[in-house]
């Protein structure tokens, strides 16, 4: 290695300036949305890396699909067709109920609820910050994904989109410690908020009074309050209720219904705005 160039020492002034700049960046990124464009563009530039890193997983899946025996595929096909018929039968009843619901709502003068459109996406096998619960999906602005859209799997709510670039998007899961989702108990209608705490199998419901009508195994759905998540999507089931005698609150834990750890295909919900009453 060469002798030290006098200029190269990295003067304290430059160091302090860059450190101050970093702190300012963190402040702006935390409080405002101005830097989202910057992040989005840099994220776009880094997308090839993400696809590169996902390549082994994608190739593995493709290989295992390709190598599956034909008989196995035929069986799977028949089973899926049978399941499809059952679901379609149930769907007919739901359509009748939906039509009735729309009529009743218009009779009452309330706005009509329109079905949400969905975008199908796949998880990119990319690890992000290990202290957070963030996932990367392979759809971006070019597919109609925008910040704030809810993300679900077939079992329930997974989270919402927080960053997006042209081709990929970052989703925060409901189990992330910085995430809170307004929920409602199906059985009793009690409303609460479910907070993530870093565990993919546990959500905390805080601030429920001890007098609330809740039981273990109660199901929680989104309440739609706050406008972030569409209402009536399954979130979790209650696993434990412990009374905290010192404060008059109960500490409630719930297990998310979505397979936060293992789902590879997800749906991004594009909400339709409800129409005005007729």
């Amino acid at each position: 290695m060469k002798q030290l160039h006098p200029r190269a020492r990295g003067t304290p002034i430059r160091a302090l300036f860059l450190m101050g700049l970093s702190i300012a960046l963190m402040f702006v990124d935390q409080r405002f949305n101005h830097l989202e464009v910057v992040r989005s563009n840099i994220s776009l530039a880094l997308s090839p890396l993400r696809y590169l890193v996902s390549l082994p997983a994608i190739t593995g899946n493709w290989a295992s699909d390709w190598l599956t025996a034909q008989t196995e595929l035929l069986e799977e096909n028949l089973a899926l067709e049978a399941e499809d018929r059952i679901i379609n039968a149930r769907l007919q009843k739901m359509q009748v109920l939906q039509a009735e619901n729309t009529r009743l709502r218009s009779l009452l003068g309330s706005s009509r609820r329109v079905a949400d459109q969905v975008i199908v996406a796949e998880l990119l096998s990319v690890d992000q910050n290990p202290y957070r619960q963030l996932i990367e999906i392979n759809k971006g602005t070019i597919d109609g994904v925008t910040i704030g859209q809810a993300v679900i799997d077939e079992f329930g709510i997974m989270g919402q989109v927080i960053h997006v670039n042209r081709y990929t998007a970052t989703t925060i899961l409901i189990s992330d410690p910085e995430h809170a989702i307004p929920v409602q108990f199906i059985r009793s209608g009690t409303r609460s908020i479910a907070f993530g705490n870093g565990n993919t199998d546990q959500l905390e419901l805080r601030y429920l009074p001890a007098t609330a009508d809740i039981m273990v195994d109660d199901e929680l759905v989104t309440s739609g309050l706050g406008g972030r998540f569409p209402a009536d999507y399954p979130v979790a089931t209650v696993t434990s209720i412990t009374a905290d005698l010192t404060r008059g609150f109960v500490s409630v834990l719930a297990k998310p219904l979505a397979r936060l750890d293992s789902s590879r295909e997800v749906l991004v919900i594009k909400p339709e705005n409800s129409t005005a009453p007729e």
């Binding site: 450190m19 970093s22 880094l46 890396l49 890193v53």
Partner: protein, 159 residues
């Protein structure tokens, strides 16, 4: 310095980024060393007049975007690491690889402190035992990083 030589350094940075987002089983994730920090420590030791604070800043932004952390979080950590390195490396480079590794451990811990401190300010859970895991692994692999990057540097005749 020719374009090719810059390209090699840039490539090593990209490799560091790739290694940082490569999927690992959840139990192993906390042991992942800060590859980008290790790359920066080597290059700022080897060619301090080219690779310095601005490169650290740039790398930090790349890491923040790929990790989903606040813009500036890893940047701050890397700038501190590189600044200290720029001021101490002359004394360090004459030491054995093992002693160098201990110095690298110190640098990585300092970077880790910054990152975890910001996480704490944001109100997110802070790891306790896992805190030293990544710097420790970084220390263990430092001799390899040093030798590999030194070979690459010599082959590409970067000076």
């Amino acid at each position: 310095m020719s374009q090719l030589r810059y390209f090699v350094i840039f490539l090593s940075l990209l490799t560091g980024l790739i290694l940082m987002i490569m999927p690992l089983p959840e139990t192993v994730q906390i042991y992942r060393p800060h590859w980008v920090a290790l790359m920066l420590i080597y290059w700022s030791m080897a060619i301090p007049e080219r690779i310095g604070l601005w490169f650290a800043f740039f790398s930090g932004i790349m890491v923040d975007v790929s990790q989903g952390t606040l813009l500036g979080q890893h940047t701050l950590a890397l700038i501190i690491i590189v600044y200290i390195n720029l001021n101490f490396y002359q004394r360090i480079r004459v030491m054995s690889l093992a002693q160098q590794a201990m110095y690298v451990f110190g640098l990585l811990v300092m970077g880790q402190v910054v990152i975890v401190w910001v996480e704490g300010i944001m109100g997110r859970p802070i790891p306790i035992l896992a805190f030293f895991a990544a710097p420790f692994v970084g220390m263990m692999i430092w001799p390899w990083i040093f030798v590999i990057l030194r070979d690459i540097r010599r082959k590409a005749r970067i000076n």
